[in-house]
Symmetry: C2
Subunit: 336 residues, 2 copies
């Protein structure tokens, strides 16, 4: 199998290489693509380095393309790559709501990936992180309502987002004023309840993605989901406070036990030992940390919990590679 990464020089591209170094995915060749501006860049990979090429105007000579170059490039080019014989795992939102395109978190609905027509969508990072914890609960207890408040890192806006946080924090600590270009307002020591564009209903697209995508991944349109998506001044890992109303009552201990064997989840829930999910401990980790599991005070038999997941990994690069591994294990990559 020939593998290609499009958008290799971005923050997710960087993580894709790190994840591939540890992945059992088998491939005969790995090509890296980015914008013409980045062509010639050398990126470390295993013991050597790989040279980034300019993305071609036409098909990509690969069996599997991991695309992470933004929605407009995916929108325009993914069908061309598919036409040329490649299967595309797309990290953008371009195809996520297309009925013909599976939206996949392998631990939750890996089998959906097998029904692809060339494109498989990787979910929004906030959704992917929530759903590995919520899916097992939904299957056993039936989630009726889900209320999510997010604490999202600047890396959700890529390497430039992290750079802006660091540079502008230095400026503020030096007595200056913070500037901003990646975010709608200065981010150092601030909180911005605005990620992606506002929709007609007053929610942002980021907030609606959590509702739309969770329903699609869980295959249940009856789920009522609401989200408040908030950018905060941290570097990586999105945290989320989640309240669940359940069809069948659960106890915190039952949920703790259920999640302790759930794939992709690390239960970290010993408050007396000050163990709970945090970006400090979840960053760089493939699993999503889940803790603060307690009975809801507004939904009898419902559950409140707190999750923290590295959105460059489970929220993006790791999930994409896991989809690729799943396809390969099931002989569902090759289309040439």
């Amino acid at each position: 199998m020939k593998l290609a990464i499009v958008g290799a020089t971005g923050a997710v591209g960087h993580e894709l290489l790190r994840v591939l170094e540890r992945s059992p995915l088998e491939y005969s060749e790995l090509q890296l693509y980015a914008s013409p501006r980045s062509a010639g860049t050398k990126l470390a990979f295993r013991d050597g380095e790989l040279t980034v090429q300019a993305m071609p105007d036409g098909p990509i000579p690969a069996d599997l393309v991991l695309a992470s170059a933004g929605g407009s490039i995916s929108q325009a080019m993914a069908p061309v790559w598919v036409e040329g014989g490649a299967t595309v795992i797309d990290n953008s939102s371009a195809f996520r709501y297309d009925d013909q395109v599976p939206l996949v978190v392998p631990e939750v609905n890996g089998e959906a990936a097998l029904k692809h027509s060339g494109i498989i969508a990787n979910p929004n990072c906030t959704t992917a992180i929530a759903v590995v914890a919520v899916a097992p609960i939904h299957r056993r207890y039936g989630v009726r309502r889900m209320i999510v408040s997010t604490y999202q890192a600047t890396s959700g806006a890529g390497q430039k987002g992290m750079d802006e946080l660091l540079e502008q924090t230095r400026a503020v600590l030096g007595g200056g004023e913070a500037a901003h270009s990646e975010f709608a307002h200065p981010i150092p020591f601030n909180v911005i309840p605005h990620i992606d564009v506002f929709q007609g209903n007053g929610y942002t697209k980021e907030e609606m993605k959590v509702a739309w995508e969770t329903r699609k991944i869980l295959g249940d349109d009856s789920l009522q989901i609401s989200c408040t998506a908030v950018r905060i001044p941290i570097l990586r890992t999105h945290s989320e406070a989640i309240t669940l109303e359940l069809e069948r009552p659960a106890t915190p201990q039952e949920v703790r036990e259920l999640l302790s064997t759930a794939p992709g989840v690390e239960v970290r829930d010993e408050p007396a030992q000050k163990l709970y999910p945090m970006p400090l401990t979840a960053s760089g980790k493939g699993d999503v940390e889940v803790g603060r599991i307690r009975e809801s005070l507004v939904f009898p038999g419902g559950i409140d919990l707190f999750v923290a997941g590295d959105q460059l990994l489970k929220g993006a690069a790791l999930n994409a590679v896991q989809i690729a591994e799943y396809l390969q294990q099931h002989g569902a990559v090759a289309r040439r």
Copy 2:
């Protein structure tokens, strides 16, 4: 009227002086008290300065005491000060759940302050900020369930909390590791879902304070309230994502209009102009910013909103002085 501040050298004490400089409160004398260690410290006030005295072991020669020196000092000394003839407005949690002690946010339940027996409690900062926005909605539409996720500043842990954030952020930016003493874990570029001590039900005391105190201030024990309280790396102003289930359906526009005339509230809700509540704009402001007002996606006719309030002001010093003003306006200070 003779006025005294106990805990004058702390973060709230500092804000009390700034708020008093702008307050219409009339007093003939202002005495500042703190621990013996701080005795002799001079603090700027209006055009001059005041000298801090060591808190006496017995009564304080004042008619009104604004106490902000921590729960254990209030617990031990407030009854002594009351016995000596003073009325005490206490910023700690020591007396908040005492049925004989009014818990007051003047815009919401000022009249409760008039029924005091010597001590009036100032609510927890997170509660005070939420309740100025929620009370008018509760009165018109009837809140049934309230789900709160907080984004709390380090100043909730006083001046030392802010200092730790600044110093440790500098350490991290310099390539070092962050230490911690005021918080359970390093706070720079981190999120800590742990404020105050854990209770038997898995919630922290900070989270339960929001439930207990909101019910007491609104005088409605039927309210179902749940909170997740989270410390984030910012200096001042607590933000909160709030979801409300209502008895009678409201539209976002009705709520916007209702809150536009509510005391203590500044509606800041023009997403298209990137106007919504943020610590950057709410810090230093007496009013609580309220925005992101939209229909709940999980409770038909319910409302989601986002608030940001300076917790050293409305969440502490300003609210205490407003209680004092209310008492004076109603001739309810003097007990000597």
